[in-house]
């Protein structure tokens, strides 16, 4: 060690150890600086926790007032949702049914298509094709969802009506399908990342046995990437459950208690945005109802993510 406190003394004291007090002083200063920086970074990491705390605080504090008026039991079991009417009923079930039905339709579109695309891009397409197509697909995720909403209403539902003339002008099927298309990039992009992270040696092992691309993809790469693929699905589900503008425009805004995708319905998120667009004064029970609805939505996605966390741990592969 050549250092002394006189800066450029590289050649002055070659190989000479630093004096003890010098070293201690330097060390103390260095440790202090390191500590401060670490705390700053930790603080930044805590902001994300604060966000969650903030969300929960806002949702819960308004919901507490709401549940002061409405019993949790009727909230969970009543089959009518008319919080802004003269005789309000506060049953979340219709909104829940709408949310689940549109989500299921969307996932029936997004998961098979997204997975197929991911496998195709990761295992079949030439690298150049992949590099061109992938960002293109990601753009699908960047289109404002309000655009999709009108696309569903003006293009997809009329097309569906050609096949099913009885279909009403607003329905969960059309909204769900378009929502599924909007979610494809989230699923395919993450799933493809997960598959590409599977080491080449794993594929070589399979090809060396005489497997085709398809066999390698489905029997080796897919199971090996399962944990990442499940993450992709879970993100897709969260997106479907929380998606707002598409269902607000195309699903019909009717709090029907039904799981028939051919019917119109309202989702939790659509209810929130409907109220936010309207005239509700801050502090009224109607205002509080959007927070109670928001809380339900948040709890659903939270549960999903926890399940996802457990599932991911369970399937995590050490290659």
């Amino acid at each position: 060690m050549q250092e002394t406190n006189s800066g450029g003394a590289v050649t002055v004291a070659p190989y000479g150890p630093l004096s003890v007090s010098d070293r201690l002083a330097k060390k103390a200063l260095r440790n202090f600086k390191e500590r401060v920086i670490e705390l700053l970074l930790l603080g930044a990491a805590c902001v994300s926790v604060l966000t969650t705390v903030g969300i929960i605080w806002v949702l819960v504090s308004e919901s507490v007032n709401f549940f002061g008026t409405v019993s949790i039991w009727s909230f969970l079991t009543d089959t009518m949702w008319t919080p802004l009417f003269a005789e309000p009923r506060y049953g979340i079930l219709p909104l829940l049914a709408g949310t689940l039905t549109t989500s299921v339709v969307a996932l029936l579109v997004a998961i098979p298509l997204g997975t197929t695309i991911a496998i195709y891009l990761s295992e079949f397409a030439r690298p150049t094709v992949r590099e061109v197509v992938k960002p293109f697909l990601e753009l699908l995720g960047g289109i404002p969802t309000i655009v999709y909403g009108y696309f569903a209403l003006m293009v997809v539902i009329p097309l569906l009506q050609l096949i099913m003339p009885e279909l009403s002008g607003f329905n969960m099927l059309g909204a769900g399908i378009v929502m599924g298309i909007a979610i494809i990039p989230y699923v395919s992009s993450l799933a493809e990342d997960a598959m590409r992270a599977v080491p080449m040696s794993m594929r070589e092992g399979s090809y060396a046995m005489g497997a085709t691309r398809l066999q390698t993809a489905f029997r080796v790469v897919f199971p090996a990437a399962l944990s990442g693929i499940l993450s992709a699905y879970i993100l897709g589900i969260s997106r479907a459950v929380g998606e707002t503008m598409i269902v607000a425009v195309a699903a019909g805004m009717q709090p029907n208690f039904t799981v028939n995708p051919l019917e119109p319905a309202q989702t939790i998120s659509a209810y929130i945005v409907q109220v936010a667009l309207g005239d509700l004064p801050h502090g009224s029970i109607g205002y509080q109802s959007i927070f109670a609805a928001g809380l339900s939505l948040m709890l659903m996605t939270l549960a999903l993510n926890l399940v996802g966390h457990v599932v991911r741990r369970r399937f995590r592969e050490a290659y």
């Binding site: 990491a45 197509v133 289109i143 005489g210 085709t212 969260s238 707002t244 926890l306």
Partner: protein, 307 residues
Amino acid sequence: MKAEDIPLIRKIIRRNKRLEVLFAVAGFLALLLGVLTFVALFAQMAVAGWERISPDFFTNFPSRRAGQAGILSAWVGSLLVMLVTAVSAVPLGVAAGIYLEEYAPKNLFTDIIEINVTNLAGVPSIVYGLLALGVFVYTFGFGQSILSAGLTLGLLILPVVIVATRESIRSIPLHIREAAYGLGATRWQVTRDHIVPYSLPGIMTGVIIGMSRAIGETAPIITIGALTFIAFLPESPIGPEFPWVNFEWLKSGFTVMPIQMFNWTSRPEEAFQQNAAAAGFILVLMTLAMNAVSIWIRYHVRKDIKW
């Protein structure tokens, strides 16, 4: 398999390959569906809005006369909101990502932060709107301002930035870190001199992807109540005297592209639908441009960093 079995082998291969071809076709069609949807959406807006796109469209304020209405206040608003979003989310997200990858000990607390970040990434945007309504608009009293909207979208993309940062940092091989530590560098020196510079392209890609999502967000902005007729620009951020910056604009009312577009789609007159299409077209162009930049970074800046 023995050499005598070659005919059998060939038969098996033929069968396997039939399935393979079927799947390849299915994959290609699925891809086509995705790409065609995008092209269809884009083309439809382009065709419907084409007539309205002229320099005036960018320099006019919204108006009740569809033919004179423009997106000046909307694109300026979007720009300013994005500025607040970037300034709030990028340092926080990058710092948090660095902490989680480079500093965090493995314990319950960091586990909670981790789960929390994944969870936030899945929280519906409308819920962020509710958070903003409760906290920024009412509790902090920022009102329906650029500041409220920017911070809301900042929180919304924070998980995206954190995840991108972490992934990018994780792709730096261990041996680079060891080389630096081996020379006697402190943790912060390693972070500052190596981790941050080498992960920068990845972080920037993530940030841009986050921003291109934020710029199209409608629901949370509606929730904070920003559906407003705005036919003026906020104060200029550049002040007339020292220190030449001005923060008045943060408190200003605003409108943004997706809100303007939403506003027009809900107008009764047919002519406004053209405006909405034109605004949508420009909005998608904006996200396209941002994505193009991120792709450019991915290929040209990242290429220079090899291990």
